[in-house]
Every structure is written in C-alpha cells, then in structure tokens.
Symmetry: C2
C-alpha cells in the first residue's frame, strides 16, 4: 500500500535546498550573505532611508580548515520589524511582505528563513534577531525553526533600550570562506555600484575591512504596488478580482441596525418608515455602501428599525425580483417583490451582481480608460454593462483570453519602476573600473506578460579592466547575479554578438553591465541566479547591446587610428 505524506514548504526546501541556492558550504555562505543584505536594502528602500549596511563574517575557530562554522551578521539602519511579526518573518517559509506587484529584491518570502535553516542544520545554533522600529526599544529574539511544521520556536525574547532604529540578524552556519570569499567581496562592491546611495561595510574573517561609502545622495522613491495589467491575466486572477469586488449582503443584526441609525443621525429617535426613507435620501451622499444597501432593503421591506430587528434576510433573487426573509414574530418565511422601477433597485442589484464590466476594467486594472473599456467589451463580445457576478465559467475564460489578446491596451505603467539611471550607472562604472571608454544606455520601458520592465546597460573598455573580456556583470532589481551565467538571457545575447564586427578582437579588456528592473523578474530558480529568456526582455537587451557595441566600435576605431598614427 502506498504511503502518502503531506510535507510543509519548509520541509520541501529543506530536502531540496539546492533549488534555493544552498547546495554546499561555499555556495550557502554566499547565498546567506545575499539574502540578508538584500533584505536590509529592501527595507531601507521601502521607507526612503539612505541605507547603512554592515556585513560581518567571523570564523568561530579561525585555526580550523575550511569548511567550518562562521558567524554571519548583517546590521542595517532600516525600519526594523514589529515585535509580533519577527518570529514569523524569520521562522516561516513563504511568509513576507513582498508578495505584491512592485519592484523589490525579495519576492518569495523564503530567503532569510532558508539562510537560518541552513545555519541550524549545520551548526544547531538558533538565529539571533535584534530589531528596533522606533530607535528606543529593541526586541531581541533567539529563534529555532520547526522545519517539519514550518513554524518558529522562540527560545528567548528580551526587550531593552536602544538608541538606533534598524535590524540585525546573526546566524552560525558551516561555510567555506576560502572558496566563497572572492565572490562575496565581488558581491559587495557590485552591490555598491548598483546601489550608489547605500553605504556598505564588510568585515571579513581575515580582519580586513571593505568600506564602500555612498557616492550619491538621492534615494529612489519607495517602490509602490501597482494594479495588474490585462496581458498578465489568467482565469484564477480574474476570479479573485471578482470576489474582491463583490459585496456581500450585510448581516442585519442589532449592531448593523445601530450603525445605520447612527449614520442617519437617528440613534435616539424612533421615526416611521417614511420619515427614515426621507432622512436617508437627504444623507445619501455621505452614507457608506453597507448602510445604503440596508436602506435599500428597508425600502422594499417597508419596515422601520423596530420591525427590521424582528426579521432576518434569507435571499435576494434579483432575476425573479423577490426578497425573502424570516419573520421571527410569526416564525415563517415571507417574500416581498422588488420593484425594478424603484430608485433603490440599482443599489441592490449592484451588490449582488457585481460591477459592470467597464467599471471592473477601469477600476481593477492599470491604465484602462472608459473608452478603451467599451472598445474592449466589444472586442471580447460582451455588453459593456455586463455584470461581473453574472459571468458563467465559459465567459470567464472568454474574458481572460480576450484580455490577453486585445492589442489596444496601453503598455504597462513603468512609473512604479526605479532604474538606476544613465548618469549614476556611468558614475559607478567609472568609480569601480576606471576605464578609458564608457557608454551607457537606458532602454525605453517595455513589458512581458503584463509586467513592466526597464533594461539599462553599460559597456566599458581599458583602464583597470583585466583582459579576457567580455566580463559580464548582470543585475536584476539591483541584485548582482554572480552564478550560472551560462543559462542567463544576458549571456545568450552577449555570446550571440559577433564582436569582431565591432572591431573587438581577441579577448580584450572590456566589460558589459546589464540591469533589468521589473515588478517581477522571471528568475529560473528560487536561488535567483539567472533570468529566463522572455522574448521581450531578450529583445531589449539585444537593442541595448547593439547601441553600446556601435559606440565601442567607434572608440576602437579611433583608438586603432591613434595607435597607427603613433607607430608612424
């Protein structure tokens, strides 16, 4: 007999930690650094705080050979995390604050907890999290993970005074700094290049300090969540949007009646039905939707508050224009007709049948105006006033397909994106590579599957750059990607380029930098190592690289001429 089991997501990622970048002590030390540093930068970005991030790696016993236990600590001056969220944020997999559609480094709710998990299973030590959200009180937690249940186990929790806001997380994990060290140092300076407004300090196990002070003072605006774009839609997403947009008939209990009386200013008075309706008409503009629905129901029931408290609404059948209720006084069900001519009819049907299609489109999606909404309705084969609550399953699919196929929607809104910008990118390249030649370009915003993205690229030659190029530096949402370049879309584009055509022969000293920022980066793995070759992204990279390669060719040409001139 087959033995079936349900495993928790932490159990899944524990058994398959390669999928999240924790395959061995070298890679794991690197990934743990990445996950904590990126959390610190995300937190500061979200609150508009110029980030100060301090990374410390110390060997527990420096004389032992690698791999061995290290203590990894990352401190930031960010907003910290509230007391009640700390154990879950760090002790639970698939728990986080970055699931919404916005440009952020984090997206899975997985990273910090995986690093802590890896530490725990290699050294049995709990994570220590210290957080202050107000610069006065600091929470200090010692947390172990219950991997089978995906729950934190709080070993210790103390509060004490502090003078600094921010968060510090510290784990003990088995790592191999002798192998991971150069990649970690690269990660640190590459992060500084793409995040010039952040100050990053790294104290390494050998006692060396790497200090990258911020060289730019303007911080990008905090990322904002945007509404979805129709091209990224599927039936599940539409269903959920309809459920959100639909309004339940409120339960008319004493609390509800009290609320209606209060909003109508009738808490103390016991007016007749007619007087109540009159008062409601006067106050209509300021009534909440819930109260309006109750008033509408009262209008059909022709009841005052006294009578209303003695019944319970059973069903609202819009198509047959019947409202049924249970009368507690007579202990039986009763039915009233709903007059479609009544001014309150619309209020009730809106509630049950949902919004009209055009309202659904303009309100729930980004950048759909009323004209486009009507045009789309025609294209999709629906009446513009079709109620969302009356869509059959077949019609939902028809709507979903049409939303993806309609060509006249505006492109996804890129104003929620925070690219680095051509000037800071050039500044960073010059700072770190001191090249003889630099060119940068920011491509116009584009989109894949409804997600807006912007590609920025840079090319540089000579100076301190080592031969053996092109050396490719890849970034996604300001995260340096240092592994698995072989299956990344950027390398595909670089390797497809015939560099000889651009007068670049042999393996000369030049670098290519690419940065893709989007509300959703299509990573190939949960370890965020490389980006999938979505056609739209590949296209922007190609166009960007062509543009830069021509500039490089022009430079190489001049350089070649200058050298020829010298020889003569």
């Amino acid at each position: 007999k087959e033995q079936f089991n349900q495993i928790s997501p932490s159990e899944f990622f524990y058994s398959n930690r390669d999928l999240a970048g924790f395959s061995n002590p070298t890679r794991s030390l690197y990934t743990a650094v990445r996950e904590f540093v990126e959390n610190a930068l995300d937190a500061c970005d979200q609150k508009g705080i110029l980030p100060d991030v301090h990374l410390i790696i110390k060997a527990v016993d420096p004389d032992k050979p690698d791999p061995k236990p290290y203590i990894l600590t990352v401190k930031d001056n960010g907003p910290g995390v509230d007391t009640e969220h700390i154990p879950l944020a760090f002790g639970t997999v698939l728990y986080g604050s970055k699931f919404g559609l916005k440009q952020a480094r984090g997206m899975f709710g997985l990273g910090a907890t995986m690093a802590i998990l890896y530490g725990q299973i290699t050294t049995n030590k709990p994570v220590v999290v210290k957080s202050s959200t107000d610069g006065q009180t600091q929470d200090e937690f010692e947390i172990l993970l219950d991997i089978q249940k995906n729950k934190p186990v709080i070993l210790k929790h103390t509060k004490k005074e502090t003078s600094k806001q921010g968060l510090s997380v510290s784990i003990c994990l088995e790592g191999d700094y002798s192998k991971a060290g150069s990649k970690i140092r690269d990660y640190v300076y590459e992060t500084s290049l793409i995040t010039p407004y952040a100050t990053i300090t790294f104290d390494d196990p050998k006692g060396e300090k790497f200090h990258h002070a911020r060289f730019v003072k303007d911080i990008p605006p905090p990322p904002t969540i945007i509404r979805p774009h129709p091209h990224g839609i599927d039936v599940e997403r539409i269903r959920r949007m309809i459920v959100e947009s639909q309004f339940e008939i409120p339960v008319i209990d004493d609390i509800m009646i009290e609320k209606v009386r209060k909003d109508l200013g009738l808490s103390k008075k016991n007016l007749s039905f007619a007087a109540i309706m009159d008062k409601a008409k006067k106050k209509w503009k300021n009534l909440s939707r819930q109260v309006r629905v109750v008033v509408a129901l009262m209008s059909f029931l022709k009841m005052d508050f006294e009578k209303l408290s003695k019944i319970r609404i059973e069903d609202l059948d819009v198509s047959n224009k019947k409202l049924s209720y249970w009368d507690f006084g007579d202990s039986q069900s009763k039915v009233v007709d709903i007059d479609p001519e009544s001014p309150y009819y619309k209020q009730l049907t809106n509630t049950v049948q949902g919004e009209p299609l055009t309202t659904f489109l303009t309100k729930r999606f980004q950048r759909i105006g009323p004209t486009t909404a009507v045009k789309f309705a025609e294209f999709a084969g629906f009446k513009p006033e079709k109620r969302m609550g009356t869509m059959s399953n077949q019609e939902l699919v028809q709507l979903s397909d049409s939303l993806q196929k309609f060509e006249d929607f505006q492109a996804p809104d890129p104003t929620c994106l925070a690219p680095l910008g051509e000037e800071p990118l050039e500044k960073g390249i010059k700072k770190f590579f001191n090249p003889d030649f630099t060119a940068v370009v920011q491509r116009p915003a584009s989109a894949y599957s409804g997600f807006p993205f912007i590609v920025e690229m840079g090319i540089a030659y000579g100076g301190d750059i080592k031969p053996g190029g092109p050396h490719v530096y890849r970034y996604a949402n300001r995260i340096p990607l240092l592994y698995d370049e072989g299956s990344d879309v950027v390398l595909k584009v670089v390797n497809d380029t015939d560099w000889g055509r651009y007068k670049v022969k042999g393996e000369p000293p030049f670098i290519i930098i690419s940065h893709i920022c989007s509300t959703r980066i299509p990573y190939k793995t949960a370890g965020k190592e490389n980006v999938a070759d979505r056609p739209e992204i590949e296209r922007e990279l190609r166009l960007g690289l062509q543009f830069l390669s021509r500039k490089l060719a022009a430079y190489m040409s001049k350089k070649g001429q200058a050298e020829m001139a010298k020889k003569r």
Copy 2:
C-alpha cells in the same frame, strides 16, 4: 506599516510557475505530458506491472490557431490510487508517495497538481481522474483546486463497474502543439528507449498515432527505500532519527495496566508484587518493550496493580537515580530511589536515554557494521556506549560533522538502484538510430553526498543519425531531459571534450546518450530540466565519455582506413 502575508505552497507555485516548468503554452503542454506519463511509469514500476501508457492530446477546436485549449489524457494499467487519496494526490501541492529515499521519477509531490493547476487557470476546467485499484470498481472524480488554500474541491464523485485496473487523468489546458509537438514526439520515443519494457502510445491532435511497443519483457525490481548514508547527514536529520529511536515512558493508565496484566497472563488474578515480578521474569522474553518498561517501573515502586492504578508517574531522573510520582490517595508527590544494581535499571535508562551510539549507527544507517561503528565512535570522540538521548547540542554537531568526514564507511549501497543495463541500452540505441557503430558503458556505482548513483552512457555513429553532432540525449532516473541543456552537467562534460583528438571532425552524425540513476537526482529546478554539476557525477560522466570516445576513435580510424582503401 508593512503588510505581512503567509502564502500556501500552491499559491507560491501558482505565482512562480516558471520554477516548475509552466512558463508558457508551449512549455506547459510539454511539462504536463511529462508529469502525467512519469507518474504512470512510476506507479507501474512500483508494483512490477509491465506499463501500458496511452497519451492522447486533442484540440478542443482544431480550426483555431495555436495557442489554444487542448484536452490532454494519460491512461495507464498501473495500480491506481485509493479513493481516499485521490483528491489529495491530485489536488494538493507537496502531497505524494515518493518522498522516501528511493529511485523514482517523481520526488517533489508537485507535478500532477501543477499540470492540473495550469489547466484550471487557463481554461477554468476541472481535472477528471478515473482510478480502479482492483479492476472491478472505478472511482471517477472531477476536482478543482483551491489554489489559495492548497486543497482540492470535489465537484463530482461517482463509482461504477470496470474491468480494468489503472488510472486515467484528463485535463483541459491552453497549449501550443505547433511548437511543442516535436518535443513531445521526441519525449515519447526517448522514453521508449530508456523504458524498453513499457508500451507507449501517443494519439496526437492531427490524428496521427505513434505506437512504441515494448521490446523487452523484463521489468526491473520495484524501487526500495534505503536507509540514509552517513555522508548525507546533517543535524536536523540526526535529531529526527533520535526522536524516532527514542521511546517515551508509557502513560500508565487503566488501559496500560490492563495490557500488562493480559501480557503477563494475570488478567483474572490479583497477585502480590513479588508474585507479579516473578511472573514477569518468566515471561520476559516475550514481553513487548512497553510492558517491560512498566514492569521495570513497578519493580522500583514496589507496587502491585492495585496500587499502581492509584498513582501517576511524574518524572524519571536517571542521573540522580530518582523516580517521582503523584499519589492520588495522599494527594502529594513522592520520590523513590532507583537502585542502579537492579536488573531493571538498564531497562529504564535505555528508555530515557535512547540507544547506544553503536546501535544507533548500525540500526539507523546503511552498511555500518559493529566494528566500523566502534572505529567511528573513536574517530568522533565518543564512547561507543554513549546514549543518544544524552547528547548535548554541541555533541550533535560534533557527531554530524564526524559522520560526514569519516573516511572508512562503506560506499552507499547501490543495490536499490535500477539502471537500464548495457545490453538493453545498446538495443534501444540500435532500434531508434540504426547506427553503423555503437558502444555503451555502465560505470561502477558511485555516490554524492551519501546518495548512491550509477552513470550509463552510449555513443553511436552514422546510420540514420543526422549530421551536426554530437546530439546529446540526457536521461535522469529514466526521464528524458529535453530543455536547458546549456546548464546541464552532461553538456559541460561533452563540450569539454576535444573531439578532434578522437578523429571526429566537423559536425558529423553521432549521438551521445547519458543516463544517471540515483535515489536523488540533484536537479537545478523544480521543473526537472537539468542536473547540477556535483563533482562526483561529473567525474563519472567524464570517465564514461572518455571510455566511449576512445572506442569511437578506433571506429573512425578503421572507417577512415577503409575509405582510403576504397579510393585507391
């Protein structure tokens, strides 16, 4: 204020379905085929049934252009799934029967549910599962997924008579057969090559039938779960093994007392304490562990059954040799001393303190004999009789590290693996490629991180093979891998080979086939597209390829001489 959310694993894979191979209609149609066919083959393998797998893909509306809805059905003659497990197996992510350590195609508990999820979000249609475990009654389920809750929603469940055992699963999903078709046809014949004892039929949307009859009658033995190997260990795994091996002090309630009386043959008699101990001594060999512990406790309490029913055991403090209990009669806690000279002392301490280290090793791991266990204890710095329940956290880490570092353990046991075999591999290559030259090799068993694996490879030249080689065919646990070869360890090894040295010039007509089978394939993604370059696996592939390349070189040399002779 940051808004925190917990998402379910189905929600995670819904939002990140690229990670599981469902990135677009072309890829998704392929991956869905893969997941269902592999489930069918796993199920038959597990029960020693020669598999008959029938794959059907039909366009819902053949005249529409791709991408469009298809109905994908996979039927097998396997053992089916029991009624109570069907909704969870197909409607829940991270639910399955293949989490144990054995060679199987499935390992994540994800595949079938993801295919069903993709179908549902593109066409809003439920999955139809028909299953018969006895060839007499068939369950038919229509299931929708609650993606947010990771639960199945059963729309319909009927039972009817049937004459065939097996399972059929059918989904409606948006696919692109015009683009995925050739990969699906390749997948089918490549599966036949590596699973020669399976008959696979494919009815494609154009009405074509591809029939691959089995060409071998022997089915490999069903995969068996093996014990872990010390080299794959971590602290979490050791903790769990200790918890499993530890025995709780049984609760001594009336039910327990009744059981002890029954096992001692004293249900009817009310003997004195001394007489009970006497009887226990006589029956000792046949008493269960639970009963022995109760007898041991009674020996220290010096109580008969009557008195025993009036107390409750509170604590057993072995280090201080004290047993404390609550006396209901006097309403107070009492303590008795435990005499370490007593023959029952050992019984109690075993229970609380767990097994000795040497027993833990020989019983819980594969292939550790008593001598090796003692040698290891010395290496790790423990007394061989050290009780597992008395390990401190520091000692657990010391044990875990030592288990990974000790060099004198036997290699992991490969007898649980089911490689294809050199002869069937050669037969399959000849059947499908009709080459002029073929060579195959099965490398000796090896291991990575405590997981045993076997590499088998084949090389073939000429015949029906198209030029432009080497064409590389990769397999892992009998699954053909058709995507992302660029980041697969096999391509790394093939591309590192200087084919000119083996007299293979240009892009000649030759193929290389590799098959890795293991209790755990180190896939890089949850979509099972490519295999990570673990050093041990890479080494075996290199040695295998060297061996085959030399044989190819010898053939090319002969071939070259023969052609020269012809010219003269």
